[in-house]
Symmetry: C2
Subunit: 216 residues, 2 copies
DNA sequence: GTCTATATTTCGATAGAC
DNA sequence: GTCTATCGAAATATAGAC
């Protein structure tokens, strides 16, 4: 019950998009970053609770004890991943929403970028989206703020589009949540063996969302 | 890090829809069903690996050892939950697709029912959708067949609608996956404190999906 | 069928040498 | 900063009385 989980979605070796999961490139020192990357992989494959600190250290090429030089607990690793991951995804959303154009252009850009991020960084995204419950109480509250911010940005855009008559939205909060669902769920099913490119999936989802708000 | 996870999404007591998660009503004997229901709750709250057999047994009002009279391993509990849950959701989808009407009617019925099931049975659905990786290899393969069946039914309907000109679908497989995303992801965010009723959410999502296929 | 008691394993985290 | 060695706690699962 261990090996097959790692190989389930494995495609041909080397078919992973280059430069994927670069969210942690700036983490130093080197050993701390390697541990973080090992933790991302392990948490995404097996989940936080099923991952051992030995496994994480091993992926980073270190002894079990070396982990505790850089992180006080296993949960602190998850917190770092969750925090940086959320910050990056909020950034992606914010940048896309800043493009020139009408509400439809900005919504399309936002969905395309957000979806693309979830596909390209699907390993990180899976941890970000599905391991929240393993965070400590205070860390969870902190992360929740970042998530609320994402949803708010999207809702404000839909609200603006509805007000100007560009969009036809019967249920603002429900539609916002549906758009988020469409983006976030990509992290669940996207994998190395997915044939479609992140770019393509982003474009498709942007088109589908525009239709959802009556601007297809 | 234990108590707050249980209380995070908790709304006022008693606001849970009555008769929720009735998928396991036919399981006998009584002790086996109580253990199964305890496992569903625990797995949904904390995840499979973070759940202890002591916790499951305790929720069923039994000693830790009593679990092993009815189930050989903790994984066998997950397997039962996953199998019955998938069978039920496939059934819901199949029944909805059998309604009288054109493709749009059937698609709306399918999405409304599928979403409603994921909301009403959100506890079971969360285990069904997010704990697959914890299954043993053979059990995982078995469950995958049921999941392929769901997606196939939906894809066939979209294909038919596109062929007859009722729908405008530019990417059949991609759109099918998006529709599934919209339905499945309800299990992630729906909770006891969600104000919207499952019925309402199903209706909204049906409307959004009809728009997605150019029939809004 | 259910209990109390426990065997066995494995985990997160620490101690102390280098 | 990294290692080897290990502690104490907690997990799954089993043994044997009732």
């Amino acid at each position: 019950m261990a090996v097959h989980e790692e190989q389930r979605d494995a495609g041909a070796p080397g078919d992973e998009a280059p430069g994927a999961d670069t969210s942690f490139a700036s983490v130093t020192p080197d050993a701390a970053r390697r541990l973080l990357l090992g933790a991302v992989e392990a948490f995404a494959e097996r989940g936080f609770h099923a991952t051992t600190t030995r496994d994480i250290a091993s992926r980073a090429g270190m002894s079990p004890a070396a982990l505790y030089i850089h992180y006080r607990t296993k949960e602190e690793l998850l917190h770092q991943i969750s925090r940086v991951g959320h910050e990056r995804s909020v950034e992606v959303l914010r940048d896309a929403l800043a493009v020139e154009g009408d509400c439809a252009d900005r919504l399309a850009a936002a969905v395309a970028s957000f979806v693309r991020w979830h596909a390209e960084n699907h390993t990180t995204a899976r941890v970000v989206q599905y391991e929240l419950a393993a965070l400590g109480e205070e860390h969870y509250a902190e992360i929740l703020q970042l998530r609320r911010h994402s949803e708010e940005m999207l809702r404000n855009l839909l609200e603006e589009g509805a007000r100007t008559g560009e969009f036809t939205v019967t249920d603002l909060r429900g539609t916002t949540r549906a758009v988020m669902s469409l983006c976030v769920d990509v992290a669940r099913w996207y994998g190395p063996s997915t044939r479609r490119a992140p770019e393509e999936i982003g474009a498709l989802h942007a088109e589908l969302v525009l239709r959802m708000v009556g601007r297809g």
